[in-house]
């Protein structure tokens, strides 16, 4: 019951992959959607569960991506070793920064994470000897699983599908566990969480690191799938896009993040037909969704279904 959403997710995505392996919207856009799902679910751990905000997650994505890119092209390291190195580097950096940054709240936290993201981005642009500058790095080798070289779109589709499912599984697990509740408690009321014996500073730091490391792993995968990385894949705009996904789907809900990521991946694909109107429509749709469904598309839908039933139930007991 707890994982029923995950099963539906797997059934739908695997079904699509098997039925339309060569369809552009499935194999190419679908793969991008999986990346966004991984990233949005990871960010939702930090934003939706713990109620914090990060406008700098693209930085962790970039660190993972560039570490993998550099280690595999320059030092011929195994992609999985490089990926772990990227994850460790991100882990170390986020651990170091977690305490001072997470002391900040609200807009100040947004500012600090935004600053962090931009500093990393500037570094990637300026240090051409290491990162290739604005044109980025290319020729990154594909990953190999056993003796299978993963380099077609549909192979990636299934791999990313598996990783997304894993991320969703992790997120759902965490929700119903000691630390997951602690995080959501911080979201609800930080002071009450402390009073219940939750070391909120440590819990926030832990989830920040967890979210950052998952983001970094997604970055590493991205670099192998794309065989290319440049700084605009990890820009401030991308950080904002990730936040938008999480909020659009429904803050705090794992499947909200999944829906938000899917919507924002497919929306531009359709808006492309409007040419010059694209930007305008994108902004308008974003605004409309948030105005009319402020809790997010997925959460509002679920709420709507549950609402009548719940209210009746409360009324009955409340008056007894």
């Amino acid at each position: 019951m707890r994982l029923v959403g995950l099963y539906i997710f797997l059934a739908v995505t695997i079904g699509l992959g098997l039925l339309f392996p060569d369809n552009y919207y499935v194999s190419v856009v679908g793969s991008t959607a999986f990346f966004h799902i991984i990233l949005a679910v990871a960010l939702n751990l930090f934003m939706g569960y713990a109620g914090q905000i990060s406008l700098g997650h693209a930085a962790f994505f970039g660190i993972g991506a560039y570490t993998s890119a550099i280690l595999t092209t320059r030092f011929n390291l195994n992609p999985f070793v490089a990926m772990s190195a990227g994850a460790m580097l991100t882990g170390a950096l986020s651990t170091l920064l977690a305490r001072p940054i997470l002391k900040l709240k609200g807009h100040y936290l947004a500012m600090a994470t935004l600053g962090l993201g931009i500093i990393v981005h500037i570094f990637l642009v300026q240090e051409e000897w290491l990162t290739g500058g604005p044109d980025g790095l290319s020729g990154i080798p594909p990953i190999k699983i056993a003796s299978l070289v993963v380099d077609t779109d549909i192979q990636w589709y299934f791999i990313l599908c598996a990783v997304s499912a894993m991320t969703i599984w992790i997120s759902l697990n965490l929700m119903d566990s000691r630390m997951g509740r602690a995080l959501r408690a911080i979201h609800g009321s930080e002071i009450a969480a402390e009073v219940l014996g939750i070391d909120t500073a440590s819990a926030k730091a832990q989830v920040f690191v967890l979210s950052a490391v998952l983001t970094s792993i997604a970055g590493s995968l991205f670099v192998h799938q794309q065989a290319f990385i440049s700084p605009d894949s990890c820009s401030f705009a991308f950080s904002v896009e990730l936040v938008t996904m999480v909020v659009l789907g429904g803050l705090g809900s794992t499947f909200g993040a999944v829906f938000g990521a899917a919507i924002l991946t497919f929306l531009p694909e359709f808006l492309v037909h409007f040419e010059e109107l694209e930007v305008l429509l994108y902004g308008a749709i974003l605004m409309c969704i948030m105005i009319f469904l402020p809790k997010g598309v997925f959460v509002s839908a679920v709420d709507g279904v549950m609402h009548l039933f719940q209210r009746r139930c409360v009324r009955d007991v409340g008056s007894s």
């Binding site: 000691r178 602690a182 009321s189 409340g318």
Partner: protein
């Protein structure tokens, strides 16, 4: 009777205002100890000092012979002090039972990684937490509302939910900040029974409350605060008879 909580000459200032001035008292295990006083007398500030939300400028606080004067909030909670809030601090993003389960934080130990991977230990913990949480909800009479989202509950139920949450942490001392405020007569009566049954179950209760009849009827001892100073400390009868208290507080409130 040994003292569970000892407060020695505690003072706290906010800017130029002395919110608490040289307060000394002790609370014995098992009693219901009430603090009364007009608005702004420093009652909630005292609770905040006891739970480490603020620190005392001077003086010391001992709980179960641990010095908690400079301990952080969550460390104090782990030693066994729980509280409720004057402005409810329910986790509105969770349903009732999740609110209560959260309070079992200190009674279990799994970390974030094991939670993510849902190791065997977590599954076992979840089973027992579920049981504890239901017990606590049952205790406040909200068993049937376990799965109700907390943001749909009426005020009175939220007050009880907050108490259930505090109880689920298995405290030895519980601080209730105006539990009857905003409740109607029936609800106040229910609250009174609830407080008494908490006390009966062996938990020491400290109570800040404006409802005088409730305070006078259930308290073992009462401390009267006025402008941050202790005006009187004694049994309800002693307090009621004290002329200074009557002048400063009861005169207008009980009249």
């Amino acid at each position: 009777m040994s003292a569970l909580l000892e407060v020695n000459s505690v003072s706290r200032r906010f800017g130029g205002v002395e919110a608490l001035k040289d307060i000394t008292f002790s609370v014995h295990g098992g009693e219901i100890f009430s603090i009364i006083g007009p608005n702004g007398a420093g009652k909630t500030t005292l609770f905040n000092l006891l739970t480490g939300v603020f620190y005392a400028d001077e003086g010391s606080i001992l709980f179960n012979s641990h010095d908690i004067t400079r301990k952080r909030t969550f460390e104090i909670a782990r030693l066994g002090i729980q509280r409720t809030f004057q402005n409810l601090q329910i986790f509105l993003n969770m349903n009732c039972i999740e609110n209560v389960k959260t309070a079992c934080h200190t009674r279990i130990s799994s970390g974030m990684i094991s939670g993510c991977l849902r190791l065997k230990k977590v599954i076992q913990e979840e089973r027992i937490v579920e049981k504890w949480a239901m017990e606590a909800l049952d205790f406040v009479g909200m068993k049937d509302l376990a799965l109700a989202p907390s943001d749909t509950l009426p005020y009175g139920l939220l007050k009880r939910l907050e108490i259930a949450r505090a109880l689920a942490a298995k405290p030895s001392l519980i601080l209730l900040d105006e539990p009857a405020a905003g409740l109607n007569d029936t609800e106040t009566l229910e609250m009174r029974h609830l407080i008494e049954s908490i006390s009966r179950s062996g938990i020491t209760v400290m109570l800040v409350e404006h409802n005088m009849s409730l305070v006078m009827e259930i308290s073992h001892r009462i401390m009267v605060l006025n402008y941050g100073q202790c005006l009187k400390l004694g049994t309800p009868t002693e307090v009621q008879k004290d002329p200074e208290v009557i002048a400063a507080y009861l005169g207008e409130a009980a009249g």
